[in-house]
Every structure is written in C-alpha cells, then in structure tokens.
Symmetry: C2
Subunit: 592 residues, 2 copies
C-alpha cells in the first residue's frame, strides 16, 4: 500500500509516529510562514502542515503548487495539535510533513466537493465521479452496502440460498413494458430483461430450493416519473411449505433486523391492517402511520339536514386536526385550494372549528345547528381547540382526497419526522382491479388486471366470487408499508395448473397466449409444485428510507435521469450499421 | 410452517416425537402389509412407513395412490429403525405415519430424479426445474451460494464496499460483441449490457471509494463455444493507492480464504511466474502446475547432427514422462497421432526411451548416437524407465503443441487429480498482441490489440519500446491460474489522460472515436485520479473448479444452451409488432 494509515485513522496515541498518507486535497491555507493542507480520503480528513524554515524548502515549494483535489502521497510525523478540532475524528493531531509526492494533479472541479455543493443537478450527474466524492453521497452508498450485508446475514442465517436467476429472459406483455435485447444468433428473436425474477423463483420452489433470495437488478421500460429508474434493485425472496403468516413473520424479522443493525433502532412488531381498513381509515393502501388522524365517517350523522352536497354524497368523512381550531381564514382557504387541485380532486372542503370556549364555527353553519356540530365533534372525539376537516362525494375519490389532506396536515403539524419509523403490513388486497383503458383482444372495452400479478392466489373462500363479483375477490397478498411508502410486497402464489389457467382466462389471456408465455410454469405445476409464496422489497427505496431521503437517486452510484439517460457516459447512443446488420434489425426512419 | 422438521433433521434422539414433514416422494415400496415412502426435501431424505392393520385404513389407501414426486405433508411419530441405514443422516429413524395430506400430485417426470438420471441433456434443460431437484445439481448451487458468502465475508472484512454499477450502459466496439438494448425514449439509440463494469469501477476509484467489489452479471454476445454462457458472473474488484504486489497479496488471500472456508483446504502461498517462463516451461499462459514435467530446451544440444527436422527448427524442446519408457509402439503411435491433430499442429513426435538397463531407444537413432541420447537424458534429468517426448519447429507453435502434449501425458499418468489444487500467479503479460485479422479504419491489414484491455498500464520501464517494438512492452497485468484454468485476471490501470490517449492511439482509435467512447474516463483522469488496479474472477468457473467439475453449466441455475437459448422458457422469441414500433426498430427481412 502507498500509505501506512488512512486519513481517518490517526489519534493522539499515534503522536511521534512516522506515517504515510494518501488522499485528495480538500483545501489548503497558506499563512506565509505556515501552510496547512486538509487531506481527504474515504475514511476521513487529516490536517497536514508545513513550516517555513523547518520544512525542506523544496517540499514547501511543491506544496505551494498544489490545488484542490490533487492526489498526494505524503510522509510526516504525527504531532499533537495546539488548537484541536473536536468535529474531526483526527482533530487532536496533525502531520508535520517531510515529503510530498503529487500522485496526480487535478483541474479545478466544476463544483465544490463539499456538503453544500454549488453544483446543480445536471452538472453533478455529468461529473458523477466527483459528486461521489462528497461525504453525503458516499455515506448513502455505504449505507446501501451495509443494508445489503445485513440482509444477507439475516437471510443466510435462516437457511435461505442466494440463487442468481437469468437476466436474458422472455418478453411477456403482462405488466409494464419490457426492455428487449435482439439475439444475433437467433435472427428476428429477442430476449427481454426481467421486470422481476418472479417465474424463476417460483420454479426454484418447484425444484425444492425451499428458501431463496437474491439482491437483484430488475428493469422496467416505463415513462420515468420523478424518482423512478429504468433499472432498480430488489431484495427478492420466496419460501415453500409456508402460510402467509410465516412469510409476514419472516420478513417482518428482516426489516426489524435491518433497523436494529443498520440504524440501531428497536422496532416493535409490525401491525397488520386489511386493505379495506387502510382505505377506510387512511384513504390509501400505503398509509403513513407515524401519526393517527384516522378518518371518521359522518355519512349517516351528517345527511338529512338539507345540505345538498352531503345529502347527495356516497361518503361523508373527515379528519380531526388536533389544535388547529384557530387556523386563520387564509389557512383554511389554502387547505380548500389544496383539496381542489386536480391531482387531489375534491369539490370543496367543509371545516368545523371546535373553539376553546366550547362553541363551534363551521363553513356549513347555515345547515347545521350547534347541537349537530357538537354531535360531529363527539363522533370525532374532538377536543376544544381541534379542527374538523370534512370531504364528501363518491366513496373512493373522497377517501383518496381525504388521504392526501391527512398527509398535508401531517406535514403542517410536523408529524412526519424522517427519523421516526412506523411500519405496517397491509393485507387482503383485492385480487383484481378493473382497468377501463385496456381492451381485450375481442375489442371489449376495459378488462380485469391482476392487482399484484397473475401468479397471486385468491383467498380460497373468495374463489366462488370470481365469476359473480371479481372485484370482491381478495388475494393472499400483502405489502409492507413504512412511513407511507410501500417498501415491499408479495403474495402466496397459485401452485396448481387449473387455478393458474383460470386466472389467465380471467385476465383475458387466450389459452394459446397463456401457453406461449407461461406454459413452462403451468407445466412445472404438474410435476409436484409445493405451496409457496414470497415477497420483493424495493432495495433502492428501502435504502433511501433508511437514509432519511426522499429521492432514491442518491442511493444509486450511477443513476439515470428522467429521460433514462446516463449523463456521465452519455448513453443511450447510436450504434454502428455493422452492429445493426449483425443483429438483423434496422432503425426506423425517425423523421416519419 | 407446514412442517415441524425438515427431511434431513431427525435423529435417534428425536424418537417418540410427533412430527410433521413436507417434501417430495423419492420412492415408495409396497410389501403388502408394510408400505414405505422415502420423503425428500432440500435437507435430506426421511423414511416413512405405514402398516396394514395399524395405520388408519384411509391413510393407507391415500398412501397407495401416491406416485413419484408427489408433494406430501405427513404427520407421524419418530421411531427407531430396525435395519438402520448408515448412508443416510436420518438413517437411524423412520416415521410411523398417522396422516397424509397430498399437497400436490405429480405426473411421472420425464427422467428420474436420481444421481445417475436417465435424462439426456436437452430433456434436463427443458425441465430444468426437475433437474434442479437432483442432489448433485442442488449441491453445486449450494456451493455457489457458499462461495459468494465467503467472498463477501473476506472482502467486507478488508473494508471493500460492494457497489452496484449500471447494467444499461454504452456500446463500445473494443473487445467482444455487446448485447444492445433499444431505447424507446431515445429513438434510434441503444444501451449496451456490460461486458464488465471496468470503466465504472475505475471511476469509483477516481471517486475515492478506495476498495470496491461486486459479484456481478456480465454479458458477451459471442459465438458460444462449449461451456461459454452469454451471461456470466464476475467477482469484480478494484483498489486504489496500491502496488501490483498489494493486489496479488489481497486476492491470493481471497482464494486461500475460499479454499479454507469452502473446502477446508489450507492452500500454500501462491507462487508467481512470468508470462515468459510460463510459455517457455509449460507452453501456456495458464499452466497446470499440479504436476511438474517442465519443458527442457534441446535446441543447441540436438542441432548439428544432421537431423534436418531439428536443424531447421527455431526450437527443439521436450518433456520427460516419468516411468513411460516401456510404452508400446501403439501407445507411441497414438501420441504421435495426438500431436499431429490440426488443433495441436505438430508435424511429428520424436521419442527417446530410457530403458531400465541404461540403454536408449529413440525414433531418431539414425541421426543420434547412444552418447548423444545419453546427453539428452542427462539434460532432462531423466532416469532409467523414463520417456522423452520431443517436438520442434517454430517457437510459439512448438511451445503450444508441447504444452498440449504435456497435459495429455498428465492425464495419462493420472497427475491431474480434480481434488488436488495448484494455484499460481502469471505476471508480466505482454501489453499488446498483434491480430492479423482485424484492420485499421485506414485499411491497413492487422493491428495491435490490448492483450488484457486498453486500460492496462505498461510497465514504466518498457514504455520506451511502445514505438520501436510494441510486442515487447510488458504490462502490469496478472492472471490467477488454478489447475490450468485462468480463474481471474487483472491489471494496474493507467490513471493519467496522456498515457490513456497514447494507448488508444496505439490501438488504432482516432482521437474522435476515443473521445466518443471513453471521453468521460479520460476527463475523469484530469480531476485527481489515484493510482489504482484491480482484478475480476470468473465466478462460474471458480465454482465449477471448486466443485471438481469441467462444465460451468451445472453451477448456473438456469443456463443457456450453445445457441444462447433457454430451452425451458423457450427464449429468445419473437416480440409483437407493437413492441417493435414503440422501439422504433424493425426486423430485417430474414429471407434476404
């Protein structure tokens, strides 16, 4: 090694040692007679100094030619600092330099390598290798490494086997769009990159592997919304001979292990909530349970008093915002504006201020008496000083809008602390959801989609509803939600051919299509497939959650931008005519 | 869990316990009054039995309907076996069955799920999920899991950080063919799948990550020779602020750690051998050093005696096969036939039998006296009873052919034991090799290729030869060879723009091409790139070597065949016109 120590290692106990350090120049300070250099590496920063008259003149001259981000190898003696820096692990010492070797020089970087850099997003992405030098970005990737390590330790300890599944697989139109790869050796044919190793992990269960996991890259060619990446990483798991409870127990264990060993947090056991409750109480299948503020339904209480908006509504429901009774008119107007935004979609907002003197003031005083409002308040368990916020309309839309309002109030009241973590299992998802926008091959408008995926098993008791009321069939499917973010989801799978075939039929597959795309899986189910189920965690998201960040991008070493472009290596890019010809494909005339 | 124990778990100490087991029916034996079932899972096999008159009649009836590979859940009581089976970990006990639940039935599998299966290759690949049920295949994948685990333990312990590098990257014509991925959002542009994360790991060094590793899928669109896969896995590593010795030391440590913790073998420290010595003594840059049988050069000794074949040869060299003096005429003829095969390429074989009575018999007695032959024998340190095998001709060709003959003799003499392991570092590879078959863009025939890759640094002392004698320039490059297989290779990298640019020029890149393909890397070198180097191990190959197998295929869960086809899921396959249109590509008319 070119160094004897790292830049984060030396302490007061090392005083008088002769050491070699290597690293990057964070900054230099030249006071004329004294020159200081902060030398940085992955492990920390160490202060170097040189002194006119004492340091060899040629070394001083060399040091004066050094700029930011130069790469140095220095030798020197560890001495105690006079003015110690308790913000730095090495702050008790500095290095009296005896020699300097410039291992490489550096142009002035296009942005500062500091916590609060002056570099904009595009510049930082183009020079990602410099951005990665910043502490916070490096620490994010160290966190990611630790998360992967601890995930493996936990799963290895439970006899899970990590198996690599193939990346060059088969395109299946169900779900999101596939990235495809033309096959040169099989002209006109294509591989697809996996959106998940779903069918392979199920086949591993058929093979008797029993407990499988993989931390694995997956791919989706979607229009990238903010914070989606075309390639992303999953913690992908599957178990055989289990019940749903076994899976929830095992992977709750994983998440608690990660909190314990990565963040030092003892997380309580994870509560279960049905999808129906999640929608009824939080208006979301991924409720943020860091704070309560559950919905209360007011429909029967509030209807029949002549307020046409409520009387005509399928649902009247609200939340109670503790201590917000004194919101000003302006604040209330802002909340009204918020719920009326197109992405929220409410028509208006009804409020009731529960004044500290026991009186009530509402936006619907014309229709409701003080007694009526008192009844509402007691329905909400509201105390003097609280504010009721009520929406109404079609049930699903009202729940969704109220859910957004609840999150907004959580933000306003500071109830969504990034350093507080609240996890829950949402269970009993619907098996199918209706999508108006896709058609069956027959041209019939709309079709049923698998809410999770086509391999999810219906609850046995609900199977009879599959013909009469498909939307009511519940699945053995579950999501893990932390702080309002879905971090993982899975299901107990179908493991017999008949049910799988029935499911494909319900989803509008012809027998022929089903066989072409998933024949191998249905065949496998006929050779002794065990009951099995699994889960996949979004690893990028889980890391960003643990890191207290909103964006996954800074937890990925080399992310792509919203057009799917890597700004640093400048790809995607054109390929040669020779490559295209070998692959038996042509690029269409793009001007048409 | 549907089971209380696995099928590999119960021992004599468990007698009288009531247990539930799940698994697959390995076989059943029905003796009329007694019925045995061998139940198998990933952990082992447990014998179940049912007894006419004692077992519930309905359970017996159910058991009699059971076939091979049915999936069962059984309950019963652990009892001591009368006739114990010491080949089975559970062989001291059996389970007296009280209930059987058929979790799934099975059609008769297309081949037997036994060590020596009756299934051919194609059938086993098509039903890979059944093939994976076989002990040996599962054990291969367990070994692979353990190898990955131990690799991570070793590298994590040395402060290496696992960083995921992108899979959707940029196509670069240098090296093997890329797989490409059309970009829908950037019509006419393509991603490429990485042949290795080479440039990304170098950028991580520029970022200060210092010690990086990744167990990572890589991709090469090559014509598949036997035992090549289009997707394969590397243990990919890079370090900064190191010398070549540091790298060799660190990764010799990895390999020794793996031998110790996966196979329980204490491997001695790994010797170094120059590329020149490897060629001169073994005729191969990946010598099998499980056995000695080094080449001896005879050129000066053997020339000038009127044997025109030797007199006209650039090199006369041979090996001494211990104890083979009594080879029959037929055996010697077979060896001659062997070296004359086109893939070996020798013109003929000269032998000298060192008879036990001290006399010599050779195929060139006409030209050489007994004294001459005695001199040869002493040159070889040959003992009575040994056989000298001598080839001659052009130096490189002769070395290669003699190397093949040496391996052949190693095989014949049983010197290549799969359970014996001999590792070495081959160092000081040439930087460049001449390739007649590719042209410069100028049309000039032949060009210099990077033997390792274009990022490998030349030995500083050899840099002056780059213009005068490029083939003589040695690189800071090294391979780890075990048992004649290259399991890993790497180099100290270039870390300054000027040298990198010079290298691209030597390799025939125009400045524009170099900038288009690798501009980001050369730019990065101008912002403080540290000295760095690394290595990549072929993980599939390393696993197969540890598993004592010749083929990597059975160490990959879902391999592809020699046409790059996954026989099980039947891919590559056609995609829809809609997909093609979205991607702005067309398939060429394949009939043309």
């Amino acid at each position: 090694m070119l160094r004897t120590h790292t830049c984060g290692e030396l302490r007061i106990s090392d005083v008088n040692k002769t050491v070699s350090l290597t690293g990057w120049v964070q900054r230099t300070r030249d006071k004329g007679s004294l020159l200081w250099i902060d030398l940085r590496d992955r492990y920390g920063i160490t202060q170097l100094f040189l002194e006119e008259g004492k340091t060899d003149a040629s070394v001083l001259t060399a040091a004066r030619g050094i700029g930011r981000e130069f790469v140095l190898k220095v030798q020197g003696i560890v001495v105690e600092r006079i003015s110690k820096n308790d913000k730095l692990a090495t702050g008790d010492i500095e290095i009296k330099i005896t020699s300097i070797e410039i291992l490489n020089s550096s142009k002035v970087p296009p942005f500062t390598i500091e916590e609060n850099t002056d570099g904009g997003d595009d510049l930082r992405m183009k020079y990602r290798y410099l951005d990665l030098r910043r502490n916070s970005v490096r620490e994010n990737l160290m966190l990611r490494h630790k998360m992967a390590q601890q995930t493996r330790i936990y799963l290895d300890g439970l006899n899970f086997i990590e198996v690599e599944t193939p990346v060059l697989i088969k395109s299946t139109p169900e779900g999101a769009r596939d990235f495809v790869v033309p096959s040169r050796m099989n002209p006109g044919e294509f591989y697809a990159l996996p959106q998940s190793p779903q069918t392979f992990k199920q086949l591993l269960m058929v093979s008797g592997f029993d407990r499988y996991y993989q931390i694995v890259k997956c791919f989706r060619d979607e229009d990238l919304r903010a914070d989606r990446q075309p390639e992303f990483t999953q913690i992908d798991c599957e178990m055989a001979f289990i019940t749903q409870e076994d899976i929830l127990h095992t992977f709750e264990g994983l998440v608690r292990h990660l909190f314990k060993h990565v963040k030092g947090i003892d997380m309580p056991s994870v509560p279960h909530m049905t999808y129906a409750d999640a929608m009824n109480f939080y208006g979301s299948d991924k409720p943020d349970t860091r704070f309560e503020m559950k919905f209360k339904e007011l429909t029967s209480v509030a209807q029949g008093k002549g307020f046409p908006v409520f009387d005509g509504a399928e649902l009247v429901a609200g939340i109670c915002a503790t201590g917000c009774a004194e919101y000003t008119r302006k604040q209330l107007d802002e909340l009204t504006e918020f719920v009326k935004k197109p992405q929220i979609g409410a028509k208006g907002l009804v409020y009731v201020q529960c004044k500290s003197d026991g009186t009530f003031k509402s936006s619907v005083d014309k229709f409701y008496s003080a007694d009526d409002l008192k009844k509402w308040a007691s329905h909400f368990d509201a105390q003097p000083g609280d504010l009721l916020l009520i929406l109404s309309g079609e049930k699903a839309k009202t729940q969704k809008a109220l859910g957004e309002l609840r999150l907004k109030m959580g933000d306003l009241l500071g109830l969504r602390d990034k350093n507080k973590f609240s996890a829950l299992w949402v269970v009993d998802f619907p098996l199918l959801e209706w999508n108006e926008e896709t058609n069956l091959p027959t041209g019939q408008a709309g079709r049923w989609h698998a809410m999770h995926h086509p391999f999810t098993s219906p609850k046995p008791g609900d199977l009879s509803l599959l013909d009469s009321d498909p939307g009511k069939v519940r699945a053995n499917a579950y999501d893990m939600v932390i702080n309002g973010t879905e971090v993982g989801g899975g299901s107990i799978r179908i493991h017999d051919r008949a049910t799988q075939q029935l499911m494909f039929t319900k989803l509008g597959f012809s027998d022929e299509e089903a066989k072409k795309q998933f024949g191998f899986l249905m065949d496998a189910f006929e050779f002794g497939a065990p009951p099995h189920g699994g889960i996949a965690f979004g690893f990028d998201r889980l890391c960003s959650l643990f890191g207290g960040a909103d964006s996954i991008r800074d937890f990925i070493a080399f992310p792509k931008n919203n057009s799917g472009r890597d700004m640093m290596i400048d790809t995607p890019s054109t390929i040669s005519q020779e490559q295209l010809k070998e692959l038996s494909i042509s690029v269409n005339d793009l001007k048409k």
